[in-house]
Symmetry: C2
Subunit: 191 residues, 2 copies
């Protein structure tokens, strides 16, 4: 809406675009504060700022990548991260032929340097893109080095201590959204 120069919007317009009822939009936003203006609705610029603050993307996050295989390289090249304030500042791999190389402007470090580099770069989030059988070990190590948030791309469920945030990215789950719609012959207008 901001890109289109739109100044205000409403719960019903947001609901229509997102596939929710206007009541749900109002309820969800009310959970975080008061963002509307009587007789006006929401100011788009104010609402965008408020949502970024809610999502924690009103600032830059210092990110490290663990595992520089095909998926790791894809993550290093993913432009959407920078747009949302996620800066990948260091990468790590066990493959000695990769260590010391630079991909984009990110240097690949040896796993032996993990603690040192994470501390030096003040890394807050880690993307885990190693094989499933190494994922828990790598997660334990980055958390021990002070990382507070984990995004796990390995097809395994990780355990993290209380206070550390994690999300698992399951690519098959995304495909299931499509097959669900096809199997149930719903017309899926989302995403």
């Amino acid at each position: 809406m901001l890109r289109d120069g739109k100044e205000t919007t409403s719960s019903s317009e947001l609901g229509r675009l997102l596939g929710f009822t206007d009541a749900q939009v109002r309820k969800d936003l009310a959970h975080f504060g008061h963002f509307g203006h009587p007789g006006i609705g929401y100011r788009c610029d104010e609402l965008a700022v408020a949502i970024r603050k809610i999502l924690g993307t009103d600032r830059q996050w210092r990110v490290a990548l663990v595992g520089v295989g095909n998926l790791g390289r894809a993550l290093l090249g993913y432009r959407g991260f920078v747009q949302h304030g996620f800066r990948i500042l260091a990468a790590f791999d066990a493959d000695s032929t990769l260590v010391g190389s630079t991909i984009g402007d990110v240097t690949v470090h040896d796993l032996g340097q993990l603690d040192e580099v994470l501390a030096q770069q003040r890394i807050e989030l880690a993307l885990i893109a190693v094989p499933a059988e190494r994922a828990q070990e790598m997660t334990d190590r980055v958390i021990a080095a002070g990382v507070e948030g984990i995004v796990n791309f390995a097809p395994v469920t990780l355990t993290v201590p209380q206070g550390v945030s994690k999300v698992g990215v399951d690519l098959a789950r995304e495909l299931e959204q499509v097959t669900f719609a096809l199997a149930n012959r719903l017309s899926d207008e989302q995403a």
Copy 2:
């Protein structure tokens, strides 16, 4: 639960594991049929079969990959797809040095052969892993060739005709789940 040899479960146990109330679990399942048994709860094997049917993963899906860059290669190597019944049967790329090569057991075809190969292999779903500026064109072409479901990894919103199902995979959105939890100091026990 099946792996652990568990025979029955309940709405409250499912809810606890999933982070929902038992009422929500009952309501969601009731939307699709009657799966419980009075005095027993859910039989795990029956429920697993029922959920696979709901999700459309009780069968094999014939999948093509469009774009064999780093992300495409990562998708070709992703073991979770096969586990969930997604078989990648063909890949396509514009890069003539890749065409004719085989990755895993999938052959990379020239984009010029798209229509022919999709028809011959009876492809139902396409994974779009090309640069953003090519994604809509590739989507239009695979849909014209009969593909019914699109999983888009390019950072752009695609338009598809009614009846075609699509989902956009936004990797930055996954990171936002983590920063949301950190920014709001929630303890996130999910995933």
